[in-house]
Structures are given as C-alpha cells and as structure tokens.
Amino acid sequence: MTGGYTGKILRIDLTTRLIHMIDTAKYEEFGGGYGMGTAIFWDLAVAPGEWDLKDAYDPRNVLPIMVGPLAATGVPGAGRTNVCGLSPETFPTCEFWRSNLGGRFGNMMKLAGWDGIVVQGRADKPVWINIINDQVKIEDGKELWGLDTWETQNRITSMVGGKTRYGEEWQQIGDTYTTTRPEILCIGPVGETKSRLAALITGSGVSARIGGHGAVFGAKNLNAISVTGTGSVQMSDPEGVLKARILQMKTYTGGDIPFASGPGAASCMPCLRADRRRSNYYGGESMCADQSWYFNNRNQTAQDKACEALIKSGLSSWSLHFHAMSIEIEGAPKFYRKKVPTDSGLGWYLQFLKEQGLLGPGKQIDSAPLPLDQWNELSFREALIDCIVRREGIGDALAEGCCRAAQKWGRLEMDRDSGALRLPAWGATSHWTMPFVEWAYAYMLGAGDPAWHGFMAPTGVPRDGTPLEESLEKLSKRTIPYTDDIFMFNYAWKGEEAWKTGIYSPHKAKQVAWSRHYSAFWNESMAFCEMFLPELHSYTPEMEIMYYKAVTGKNDSFADTMRIGQKIWTLERAIRVMHGRSRQTEDFYPYMYMPGASGLAVYGGVPIYEKGKWRSDPAPDMYLDRKGVDDFKSHYYALEGWDKEHGWPTRKTLEKLDLERMIKTLRDSGKLGTA
C-alpha cells in the first residue's frame, strides 16, 4: 500500500464476538474514510441481499468508523473520523447517511494500526471495545451503562490508562511508551435509550452529530470504543508534508471561513472557537457549534452549562437546533413574525408550537415536564435535555425527532406543508440551504445536511474589490474538471434566465456535482475539515494535491481525485437506490417552494446574472419552482450518468467508474438504470 495507510481495518461482529481484519488494500480505490466506509457498507450490508435496509436498529446495520490516509501524518485539518451507516434520524425512512467528527480519535486509531473500525451485529449485553494497538477486546460494559459521556470516558481511562499520573509519567505498553491517554468514542444515556437524536461523543465536546448514529451504538449494546495507539504512520515524503504545511502557514490570509481552523493542528482542531481559552471547559475541542445552535446566550456561563449537559447526555446539538440567526422576508408565512430562521430544528419547532398556543401545560400538546415559562433560562435547556434522556412526558416524543413527534401529535402534514417544520428534506435540520441552492440540492440528493460551505464565500461579494464577473472567472479556473463555466455560479432563480443559465440549468448541475464529488473525496474520505479546505479563493486545488502526494506518494491529478469522488458519490447513490430512492421520492419539503424559503446570504449576496449583467444579490425572496427542480433533476441525472426516469445509475456509468461489482446487485433488484 502507499503511504498513509496502516493496511488493515478492524471488523468486529458483536453478535458472534468474532474479530476480523480487513485488508485495506481491498478498498484503496475508494481513497479512505467515507469512501472505504461506503464500499464496506455495500459489501457487508447491501450486496448479501439478506436485509431490506429499513431499520437502522437492525443488528445487520453496519457502522464503518473510518479515517483517511492523511490522518495522523501531521497534515492539518485532516484527522477527522467518518461514521456512516443506516441513519435512525432521517424521515420518513432510515436513509444511508454519514457524519464525521474531529478531535483525536481518528489519529489514535491510525497510531494503533487501524484505518478503520467496522462494527456490526448486536451484543447480548452491554459491552465496550478496548483497542490497544493490535490487541482488541470486547469488554463487559455493564458498569458503564447509565453513565454520562464524561463519566464513561473517565471510567474507561482509569481502567485502560493504569495508574500513571497525568503529565508526569510515561506509560509502558508492550515494548512501546506513551504519555497520552486513550481516545474514546462513546454514547451517553440518550444513545442507550435509542433516541434518534443521539450523537457519538469523544473528549469533552467533539461529536458526530448528524444522523443519530449514537442510537445505533445503543441498539448494538455498544457503549464505547477506546483506542490507545503507540505506533507510527509511514508516509512517502515527510519533508514534503512539513514544507507544505509551513508554506501554507506563511501564506494563510484568514481563510474563506472566518472561524475555520487555519493551517494548524495535526487533527481537525483547533479552530478559533475551539481555542481552549475561550470556554471554561477543557479545551482544544470546546462546544463551539453547540453553543450557537442549542443555547446562544450572552451569558457565557449559562451557555457553557447548557452545552455541558447536552454533551454529557450524548444528545446532538444539531438535531435539537433552536436557531442561530434569522432575517426578515416579505411574503413569508405570518407565523414567522418576519423573523425567518436561517437554520432550524427541534428547538425552533417547539418555539413555533409554543407561540401558536399549541404547546403548554394541559394544552393540545402537553409540555410537561418542561418549564415553558423559563424558555430563555438555563433551567429550560437543562430540563429539555433531561426529559429526552428520561423519555419523560413530552420527552418521549421529542426523543424521536421533530418529524416523528409531529406525526405522533397528528400535525405532520399541516406543519410540513406550512413550513413550520422547516426542514428542507428527509426530516433533516435546516442549515443555510438558501439562497445557496447547491446546498439545498445536496440535501435533496443526499439524506440531509451536506454541511459543506465550500462555495459560500467564493461566490459572495468579492472582499478585495475585484469585479464580480472577474472573480467568478478566476473561481471557474479552480473547479476542475468543470472549468471555465461561470454560469455554474449563477443563482438566477426566476424568469427565463433561471432555466437558461441559472438554478434550473445544466450549469447549476455542474456546481452541485463538483461540490458532491469534492466533498466525497476530500472532506469525507481524505477527511479534511470542510471549513479548512476547499479554499477556492487561494489554495484549491494545489494544496490538496501537495499534501496528498507527500503522504501517499500517488501521482493522481486533481481531476483523478474528483473522479474518485464521483465514484464514491455514485456508490452512495446505488445504496440509496437499493433502499428505495428514486426520482419520485426525491423532493423538497413544501416550504422550499414558497416565499420565505430563503435565508441569509452571509457573504453579502449570491451572484445573479440577468439581462446580460452580473450582480450580487442577497436574494431573500428566493424560493424554488417545482417544475424548475424537476428540470434540474433531469440535468443532474444526465450529468452523473443516472437514468432520467428513476435517477438510478446506469450500467455504462458504473462500468466507467469501475463499479462493476454493483451492477449485478442493482440488476437483480430491477434497479439498474437504463440509458
């Protein structure tokens, strides 16, 4: 194998308690991380054809927890860990979906000698997995069950880390030594009670928040995975990595995303918000996003405490999303009160129900035990967490997520249609989405939030005063392989231009495809923090390739890597198709087709080309057209090589992408696209 890989992936079947090793080389064509995880999911969960892929809690659900070749090599921002599998959180069906997390768990996994850990089956009683280099044990988890995420990590550390004193001694492990402690990925009580809002937590505040995979751990009776690694990671050109990194540090100008990590850090940290001085809590991994999404309050102490309770419970701040920002939009439904949230989830939906007088003690939806009169207090946020953890009163419905709760309350259709359930598609928390249409389309084509900011800043108002058209031309030079088409960045959303060169045109399909392919390879599989790369104003694609070559020694061009990205994205599509995805089921929630759908153009506006001229426009009035979205699907499917009628990958496409082994499964299921 080339540099960066350890060469082996751990496979643990909790039902049989058998521990296997998978040769990483078998999956090297998928890059690493998510790419490999997706292929492993296909091989273990889809291809055998023994499972209908409906229930995320089925023991046959497979969870690959993977890192990429750049992890633990000193490449900044590339130590993220990807988790994928059938998601219990998506609605109405459990879709194949992924999340990722930073911190140091992934690096430690590599240092222990593993490119990934694949978990399948279900233990007959609570267990945790103890990995010390090549020694792997399934341990009794009885005493961990019921503990919060911090207690779990402390308990495991005391068991694994021996009696060495912090900061004073080396610990001997076999013939090797370390001063570091184990890195632990775990769930809290909400994972154990299988709340669909359960995250996977490591450290004090790092979490894989999207998808509810913490509940899959709970369903498998798996409380935690602890990894201690004292090994080494080989790379092709260590000096090349050091040089690339120092070069990037010297030339870094602040990045496209102002709070991004910058060219620092061996793992995905630190970023500005994760500065350990910023919060009172253990640093380098503070709960930055949690504070914005769950309890954005001027009282830092209250904010910290709310988020500590959240993380300890193992809940996802993402799913419980109140909202961080809002804007006024003319014509939006009245219940928004001219404050349309740019992002929203369960918290915002509760606020809507409260304001409508539907939620309260003894009301249509009984709020007990929530103290609604303390809405803006720490006490309310803590009570909300507590009732979900205990599944007490309203907490039992909320633990299932807002769509399933709305369904239980008989409000699903009306609130989905009105936009009160402001979720773009698949019941997923809303985040940006509009007017960044490529983001919205990624929601629909995937299974929820793509959480990918790559085009937001580069298509915003040019910060250096460069004329907009000139700025877009420069941008279009970097978007290999779809270069020299500035209409990819046209956000014209109404009138003839929307269909000709705007958001319903073949040009927009290219932008969406670029974002999906880039994300699949560079962010999910090479595991670069998506707020760190791409940097489409400056470093992309040169910097990615510089790091990639130095570590792996491969001579792939950027276009080659984008092809691997397309391959991963197409494989992901094949899994969804096997699951039931088709053109007919792939759609937005109704509010996206109504005034009020737009959000905040955070970089000043999006480029709009009309009447022969470009302008930056915040587009607060943007909403989608049903026929337009339908037309977009046709263009997009054609570009990806999926058939027009169903959106299924065709034989020709699968052959072109070296995905022949998927052909038989799709064909036998009657879901192979015809050209």
Partner: protein, 251 residues
C-alpha cells in the same frame, strides 16, 4: 567502564548486555515506566559530581496558555527525526489531561527538553553518546551510533515525564537536539537554525531563545510569549449578526 573503542556493533551488544545485567530492575524493565524521584541503580551509584558544562546556546521555551494541544509539534518532531508520524517517538510531549476534563489552564502540560545547564543525562551517560556538541552551540545531544540503549540518560533526567525518550524500534535513547540531526528535514537546525516543532506550531506557543531560562522549576521555561487574547461569545458572532435572537424571540 565500557570499552568505547570496540566496533559499534560489538559495543552495542556487549555493553548493553553488561548494563542490563548489572543495572537495576528498573533499567532492565526497559528504562521506562514509573521512576523514583532520585536516580537508582548501579550505573548511577556515584554521587552527582560538581561539573561545569558549557551552556547551550539555544533553549526552547513554551507558553502553555497558548498551546492548543493539537500535538502538531509531536508529529513534526518524529517526522523530521525519524521519518514517521509518531507521538511516541517525539522528543517533545504535549500531554493533555484527557479525558478528565480539567479546566484551562491546567489541562495541558508541555514537556520540552530544557537543555539543562547541568545536564545529568550527559553527566551519567556511560559511553559519552549523550554529550555536549561543542561544534554546534553546545546543544545536549545523543549520538545514535554511540548509544548502547542502557537507559541511564532516561533515568537521570530529573524532569517528569523524562525528556529523554526511548526508541523501541532502534533500542536507543533519543533527546531533543534542537533539530541538529534531522535526516528527514533539510532545514539547518541548532541554536542558529530552525526547529521543526517551533516552525510548525500553529499557536506560536514554542520559541527558541538563546539565554538560559531559570533552572529552578518548570516556570523558567513556561513563559508568556504573547498576551492572552481570550475570544468570547458564539462562533456565529463572526458573521456580525444579532446573536441573541433566541432571547428576544422567546420574550
């Protein structure tokens, strides 16, 4: 005393065996693990001699308040010296009190070789492998070709954790040499050159200085390199938006 005139291989095999046989159980255990606060074992039986050493012309100081705990320096050190990424082979150790969630500023310990004014590692090395490189700014270094792997330098280091590091792949000790000998990094090191850990640190929490810091305790090396700038508020504040929507709307 070890016959250092023997060939390198002979010296290593014979003298290491001699030391392991003669040395204490602590040394035989691999020259690591938990050490008593005072040196022990036959190899260290002599009282500390009053010897003057030429002071190093370079010292790495650190600011534990700036450190992110990202371990970049550890990766850079092992990559520059050993050609692999391995915190266990790094001569600088950043130790996070994880996951016991100790709060700032007590959550991170930066463990950096002090280039001691009176280097016990040099003083007690039986072969002279650990020595003062007078041709390169008096840096305290270990010659990997002369090291017999007895672990005396590790036992001798008065710091906790010890700054001399065991390399289990080569069966020798290693220590910070201010990047004088970096086979995988071509930059000139030493007191007049670059150090991989210093150059790579994204927090600028490491710095090379030329005057010896206070030797009395760890604070001599843990210095304020930049005034603390404590960010506050929410990460969404960078967008300069109204960050307390929740408060207002709920009212």
């Amino acid at each position: 005393m070890v016959d250092t005139k023997k060939t390198e291989n002979d010296t290593k095999s014979v003298s290491r065996r001699d030391f392991l046989k003669k040395g204490s159980a602590a040394i035989a255990a691999g020259a690591m693990g938990v050490y008593a606060s005072q040196p022990t074992g036959d190899a260290l039986a002599d009282p500390i001699r009053e010897v003057s050493y030429l002071p190093s012309k370079g010292y790495i100081v650190h600011d534990s308040r700036l450190c992110f705990g990202c371990q970049s320096c550890m990766y850079a050190c092992s990559m520059a010296h050993e050609g692999v990424a391995s915190p266990s082979l790094s001569r600088i150790q950043i130790i996070r009190d994880a996951p016991s969630f100790t709060k700032y500023p007590y959550d991170i310990v930066m463990s950096v070789c002090r280039q001691c004014v009176t280097p016990l590692c040099v003083q007690n090395c039986p072969t002279g492998a650990c020595h003062i490189d007078t041709e390169n700014g008096n840096v305290r270094v270990i010659d990997p070709n002369e090291c017999i792997g007895c672990g005396t330098c590790i036992e001798s280091c008065p710091q906790r954790p010890h700054r001399t590091v065991w390399n289990p792949e080569k069966d020798i000790s290693m220590k910070c040499d201010l990047c004088l000998n970096t086979p995988y990094w071509s930059n000139k090191g030493g007191p007049d050159g670059h150090q991989a850990c210093v150059d790579i640190c994204p927090a600028k929490a490491l710095k090379l200085v030329h005057e010896p810091p206070l030797q009395t305790d760890v604070n001599g090396y843990d210095v304020e390199l930049a005034p603390p700038q404590v960010p506050s508020g929410s990460f969404m504040d960078v967008f300069n938006q109204d960050s307390d929507d929740n408060q207002k709307e709920g009212e």
